[in-house]
């Protein structure tokens, strides 16, 4: 049974710039928005767009991600034919290789894709926060009779040199691609989301693999080759919310933006485009008699008896009486004990913040999500000792002893 389009999600990235958060898990498995992980976004977009076959390409610290995806049931991707498959690199008769680049990762899974005999393949990135209807993207691709389409966002001209840019004609046909140019000719930035005709992609992947000088990367090698051959390449304009959460600052920002959907444009509360996730299975959140919670998101299993402002608490977070949490992203299972102060920071899972400890600090000029300045970070499983201080610039991945300061 052939599929019209299947999705391949590139989820192999280490996310080295998230350092303390990605020591034990791959970037797509990083928790986001109170009860989600980053990978929930492309997966939910897929099912909401009608795509029922998804390959997830992993290689860095895949344990948490593997377990999280499981049989795909939370996303309705436990299917008889298709469904979600985690695809790590594997050994073949001719030898084995890690995924050398994005294109090579797909190349190594040609036989997986061929099983479904799809007309189109959509390549997605596992580390972006974005709600997008891929079926509309496919409609565009078909209307243009394209062989390759890329989703692009208009970015301010001043920021254009940081992106891979698509230069197009008035019909959105791409005639030039500039990778992080000094003098941009376009402000249409590639989102790293592509639709290919599978026969075309397959031919180019095979050719690219045969080229010893290639870095086997879509942006650096495959797209330039397509351009050289004058293939039918089009740019699809996307106007919604899109964020690459590759840094601590952008991850924190994206979380804060979830709290303010009317301004930020990321609306997780849309009944018609639900983001699905694996449920923690915990009881209701318990709000104590001394709690004070404003402009925040709290989820199942939390116990709050302190002050929470402008913050996101993940499943099972405990905020004791007299503790304050301000502008913070606090991941699952973390305990914030009495009298401690947690502000302007990301605290990973299962952290113990003991009595009277201070983590992060509000910036002097007050909260400014667009220009946040320093965001303190505490890695998972860390204990912050009694009365200890974690400064606003700190990134902590080891225990901090009682009374100690870390800047």
């Amino acid at each position: 049974m052939a599929k019209e389009m299947i999705a391949m999600i590139l989820a192999g990235g280490q996310g080295s710039r998230l350092y303390a958060l990605t020591q034990k898990l791959a970037k797509p498995a990083v928790p986001f928005g109170g009860k989600y992980r980053i990978i929930d976004f492309p997966l939910s977009n897929c099912v909401n767009s009608g795509i029922d076959t998804v390959g997830i390409l992993t290689q860095y610290q895949p344990l948490v991600l593997n377990e999280y995806i499981g049989n795909g049931q939370p996303w309705d991707l436990d299917r008889l034919h298709g469904g979600v498959h985690v695809l790590p690199p594997y050994q073949q008769a001719t030898g084995s290789d890690w995924y050398k680049g994005t294109a090579n990762a797909i190349y190594q899974n040609i036989s997986f894709i061929d099983r479904y005999d799809p007309q189109y393949v959509i390549i997605l990135s596992g580390d972006q926060i974005c709600k997008q209807d891929y079926s509309d993207f496919l409609r565009f691709h078909k209307e243009k009779n394209a062989e390759f389409s890329v989703a692009v966002m208009e970015v301010p001209w001043s920021e254009a040199p940081r992106f891979g840019l698509m230069v197009t004609d008035e019909d959105d046909r791409i005639n030039e691609f500039q990778e992080k140019p000094k003098n941009p000719k376009s402000n249409l930035a590639s989102m790293g989301i592509y639709i290919f005709n599978w026969d075309v992609l397959k031919a180019y992947l095979i050719a690219d693999e045969a080229d010893p000088n290639s870095e086997n990367d879509f942006g650096k090698n495959v797209i330039p080759s397509l351009l050289r051959d004058n293939r039918r390449m089009y740019a699809y304009h996307f106007n919604g919310y899109w964020k690459d959460v590759g840094t601590i600052t952008s991850l924190w920002q994206a979380n804060m933006e979830v709290l303010d959907p009317s301004h930020s444009g990321i609306n997780l509360f849309d009944e018609n485009w639900k983001i699905y996730s694996r449920n923690s299975g915990r009881p209701c959140q318990h709000i104590g008699a001394d709690a004070d919670i404003v402009n925040s998101m709290v989820t199942e299993g939390c116990k709050v008896n302190g002050t929470v402002n402008n913050s996101i608490l993940f499943p099972g977070v405990v905020v004791e009486k007299g503790a304050t949490v301000d502008s913070a992203v606090v991941m699952g299972g973390t305990v914030i004990k009495a009298g401690s102060k947690v502000s302007h920071c990301i605290v990973a899972e299962n952290v113990m913040i003991e009595e009277g400890a201070t983590v992060g600090a509000m910036p002097e000029g007050g909260l400014d999500i667009a220009n946040p300045g320093d965001v303190a970070t505490v890695g998972s499983g860390v204990r912050i000792g009694k009365g200890a201080t974690v400064g606003p610039k700190a990134m902590v991945s080891n225990d901090v002893k009682d009374g100690e300061e870390q800047w």
Partner: protein
Amino acid sequence: MVNSNANALGVIFANSYDNLVPELVAERTMASIPFGGRYRLIDFVLSNMANSGIDNISVIVRKNYHSLMDHLGSGREWDLTRKRGGLNIVPPFAERSIKMYSGRVDALASILSWLEDQKERYVILSDCCVAMNMNYGDLINKHVESGADVTMVYTRAEIPEGARNDNYTIRINDGRVTELLSNDYRPGVQNLSTNVYIIERESLIQLVRDAAVRGLVYFERDILARNLNLLNVQAYEYTGYAARIADMKSYFDENLRLLEEDNVDQLFSADNPIYTKIRDDNPTRYLEGSKVKNSLLADGCVIEGVVENSVLFRGCRVKKGAVVRNCVLMQDTVVENDTSVEYVVTDKNVHITAAKKLSGTESFPVFVAKNHTV
């Protein structure tokens, strides 16, 4: 065979004691009454069984079971989607009896052939009106060790007002039940049956077949109580947290009792989690103006007003200037701007319009039926 599965199967009666809470079962079964913010009563017994390695379960339903079927689906949330065993929902068999099941014996008679075909040695029978967190492993072991014919689970509790005409209490001598009283009305703490029983499958089949022939209806009154000399019926005390739903008042009280942290921790112990149908709500949002104290909230709520001493189910909305005190709001209840509700129980999808005042009293909470607009 790895010893992770219990040698017992489960039989759950979804409609027993429906008559105690007519308001709540107008469109559902006792088993599917929402409880504790995001659960239904059947979740407790199903999760207990699943956590105890019991994965072959029949749920016997009598009427109004659409909501229950919708809730249970294929049993996936309780890990009961199995090739062997799993979850089995048994509606009345129309051809066989025009009359509905009137007692447990009737109900069990309808699944006799199924019971005969199973392999498990023991059967655990349970209602849904008592929410407990109990691992049945110990019960099974005690039952086997004692060599009892039947072991019944009881709690030390006062007989709830609403259950005056629907309860069983027991007198115990050295672990053995010597007397089984129906509809006890004595004040003070009694040995109150939870209607959870364990019995050998073969003997259950014999007892039910025999009783059905003689036109007997009630398992406790007609079978157990009459034969306490013959049958070795052992008592097993459950000492953990139990919420017994006996009328609207106790429904209200038992929800609010969960506001005590200790009670929540006991009923939803991490070692024995309680599973339920997942709705994929987003986390609850506390917006500008929210003031929430001493309350239990499920996901998907949006709070802009005051909430105190209340239990809010999934997807409730408390708008600006609204005040919710001492209430149980079932899922998707909306309390509009500047409205105050106190001592109110709302069923699902209730809409309380702006600038209203609705209040009951502690002894008599107001109930608003499903889908109503006030």
